[in-house]
């Protein structure tokens, strides 16, 4: 496939890995921010190709995984209402709420539709004036422009039966929170290429300088990630702490300016709870007061619901890079993709799902009992 195959070339990946191994004089600890990158790394075994040169810690950049339980529960309550058509990206359908998930609400009679774009949800609202259409606006800065556009268009067209349940989060506050933790081990970051396609990288420059960490804006294919790792290690070896751009085919320093302006006009920074991590000040996006008519939480009076997360789920430690997924006591036993305790086991970008789906060969040789149980449950 043009524009993709070039970035999946096995020979280039292997030669970059060899250069990285030669460059590193010690073992460096890097974190890839985005869940899409996590899946490429684990699925293609990139961490194995670099040997002892780099330890990859998987970051919190899975939008499905960090959506707090109470937002999922609010989504379930809305989806159960007979007057609501609840629309969402497909990823969210199997994420467990306190009691069930969106697929089960649909089986019980709720109307839940998978859409590929929030603008499709808006079109559905225009076509279905007798129902209220809610779109589940989750994600990092990557999905924010399209979600902002849907709200903007709804106001422009005067669509009264459309609203969004917002659970947007932003990357820089999460990086700062991780770096400020006393037990932080992360020495360098691969920043999320698509987030930076929208936002650019200027907001990462103060983080790199203050915490003395290299940050490399990185793409998602195997060549991208291997090159991003090499660039970060080269900086560490040379004692540099800069923001560099590996994903030059997509990202500029200023990002996509019209998209940023639209996001800034529709959303404002708010405090946001992250599933498994807790509240991070000014880490989320919420609708500005002038768009309150399109806020599903206000329209349906859901704003003050607070739900505690199950104690058995160690998703927070996984999302902060404290635990590798298979080090979690519930991994593959209490928690499998068929019976997930937390979102990282369900989402296509979740670290636990990546390890469960792709890495059972190693686990089988190390811990036969665990995998025997896991396989039995999943059949």
């Amino acid at each position: 496939m043009k524009y993709l195959d070039e970035y999946r070339d096995a020979a280039i990946v292997r030669s970059l890995a060899a250069r990285l191994r030669r460059t590193a004089t010690r073992r460096w600890v890097l974190m890839e921010v985005c869940g899409g990158q996590t899946h490429t790394i684990v699925k293609q075994g990139l961490d194995e190709l670099v040997g002892d040169a780099v330890e990859m810690i998987h970051g919190p950049g899975c939008p499905v995984c960090v959506t707090p339980l109470e937002q999922i529960d609010k989504a379930l309550m809305l989806a159960e209402r007979p007057d609501v058509i609840f629309t969402s990206f497909g990823d969210m359908l199997r994420v467990p709420g306190s009691d069930c998930d969106l697929q089960q609400v649909r089986a019980r009679g709720g109307t839940v539709r998978v859409v590929y774009s929030p603008l499709d949800a808006l079109q559905l609202a225009i076509r279905t004036p007798e129902k209220h259409v809610v779109f589940f606006a989750v994600g990092f800065e990557t999905t924010a422009p399209a979600n902002a556009m849907a709200v903007w268009r709804a106001r422009e067209l005067g669509v009264r039966n459309f609203s969004v349940l917002v659970s947007h989060v932003t990357v820089p506050p999460a990086m700062t929170a991780l770096l400020s933790a006393p037990d932080n081990r992360v020495q360098g970051f691969l920043a999320a290429g698509h987030v930076c396609t929208v936002m650019g990288w200027s907001e990462y420059e103060p983080i790199a300088a203050q915490y003395r960490v290299p940050i490399v804006v990185t793409g998602f294919e195997t060549v991208d990630i291997m090159e991003g790792m090499l660039m970060a290690v080269q900086q560490l070896e040379e004692g540099r702490f800069e923001v560099e751009n590996q994903y030059v085919r997509s990202v500029t320093r200023d990002g996509t300016v019209p998209a940023r302006h639209l996001v800034a006009q529709v959303f404002e920074l708010v405090d946001r709870k992250w599933r498994g991590i807790g509240a991070i000040p000014r880490s989320g996006l919420g609708l500005r007061p002038e768009f309150a008519d399109f806020d599903a939480e206000l329209r349906f009076g859901l704003g003050d619901i607070v739900v505690d997360e199950p104690a058995e789920c160690h998703a927070g430690d996984v999302l902060r890079g404290k635990l590798k997924p298979f080090e979690c006591p519930a991994f593959g036993t209490l928690c499998t993709p068929s019976r997930p305790l937390g979102a990282p086991m369900v989402s296509s970008e979740g670290a636990c799902a990546a390890y469960f789906n792709y890495r059972r060969l190693e686990r089988r040789s190390e811990q036969p009992d665990v995998v025997a149980v896991a396989t039995e449950q999943s059949l």
Binding site: R94, P337, L379
Partner: protein, 353 residues
């Protein structure tokens, strides 16, 4: 503060698959489908033939054996690039019979019609059905129609049931694969599923994706004539795709499967559609592809047999059965790494970004 009734006291997570109602995922061909059959149907309908869980049931009659299979088609849209529900309904059942090594002879069909369905759509479906039957030398010998109120069905549902006769020298079985056997895939994968999805989502690509809907009977006949008993197992990877079909064979035969990424052909337009929707082509449905395990010394001849037919012109040797990792499918990537290709719990869900 508002309280959520169902959240109170929910200290233990509810098992999400063991729920009390049918979900769409139960129709996905993945683990939920398998559990539905295992837990709900088999305990009450159990018998030695059904227990085999083959693509068709094999029963003795008058000193010989026949295979019988049934399949119901609920495809939306009813007409898609490369076929319609009528041709699909014939090919689907013929293929299920062929995967047991049977030569299809007779079909019956049942139509559930929704009030308001245009006759021209119905006529085209029946014409395609007649044409597909004629091409494959089968006769449709019984039929039934029912009409339901508008809103009670999605235009048209079609069932077909087929009967075929078996050659005692040619009995591929899902549990007969042995370590060392060679895996062949008859052609490019994921075309049917992506054709349907593109039509449903209104996606447009430079080249239109066509369903691969086709009868696999000619390919199976070629295998039967040229390598016969060396064919251990056949499967047409429909719902759940190549990944689910190979997982089922790995479990049934108690072997591990090594699958070579470089030998799995995904057409460029299909790969692009999968990238866009965030889907893995290994789990996308096919309606005109077979996977075969054959004895190692017959592999080259089997490959030549498949390639001698237009439908199998892009057939590949795509892997082999091994002793290790019994019950698992292991993908050997172009990078040289190895990973498990599991069965999915339910439907593949498109990604956020």
């Amino acid at each position: 503060m508002t309280t959520i009734a169902f959240a109170a006291g929910a200290t233990c997570p509810v098992p999400l698959v063991a729920t009390e109602r049918v979900q769409l995922g139960h129709g996905s061909g993945g683990q939920m489908s398998a559990a539905l059959i295992r837990d709900r149907f088999l305990p009450l309908l159990d018998n030695p033939v059904l227990r085999q869980l083959g693509d068709a049931g094999v029963v003795p009659v008058h000193g010989g054996e026949i295979a019988m299979s049934t399949d119901t088609f609920v495809v939306s849209p009813l007409e898609f690039p490369g076929g319609n529900i009528g041709s699909l309904a014939v090919h689907g059942t013929l293929n299920d019979l062929a995967m047991m090594g049977a030569r299809p002879l007779f079909l019956s069909t049942g139509f559930i019609l929704e009030e308001g369905l245009p006759f021209e759509v119905l006529d085209r479906a029946i014409a395609a059905m007649a044409n597909a039957a004629l091409e494959n030398g089968v006769t449709i010998v019984a039929g039934d129609t029912k009409v339901v109120e508008r809103g009670r069905a999605d235009g048209l549902y079609v069932n077909t049931t087929g009967v075929g006769i078996l050659d005692p020298q040619f009995r591929p079985r899902p549990d007969a694969v042995k370590p060392g056997d060679v895996l062949l895939i008859s052609g490019p994968i994921a075309q049917h599923g992506m054709a349907i999805m593109s039509a449903r989502e209104g996606l447009e690509f430079e080249s239109q994706i066509e369903s691969d809907s086709a009868s696999l009977v000619p390919l199976v006949e070629l295998l039967r004539h040229r390598v016969g008993g060396a064919v251990r197992a056949l499967r047409d990877p429909t719902r759940g795709g190549v990944a689910s079909a190979l997982n089922e064979l790995a479990v049934a035969s108690g072997i591990g499967v090594l699958l070579e990424e470089s030998a799995v052909i995904v057409p460029a337009s299909v790969a692009a559609a999968c990238e866009m929707l965030g889907l893995d082509p290994l789990y996308v449905a096919n309606e005109g592809v077979l996977v075969a395990f054959v004895a190692p010394d017959a592999a080259d001849e089997a490959l030549a047999a498949l390639r001698s037919h237009p439908l199998g012109s892009q057939a590949t040797i795509a892997g082999r059965a091994v002793v290790e990792n019994s019950g698992l499918v292991v993908y050997c990537t172009r990078l040289g790494s190895r990973r498990v290709v599991d069965m999915l719990p339910g439907d593949q869900l498109p990604r956020i970004c």
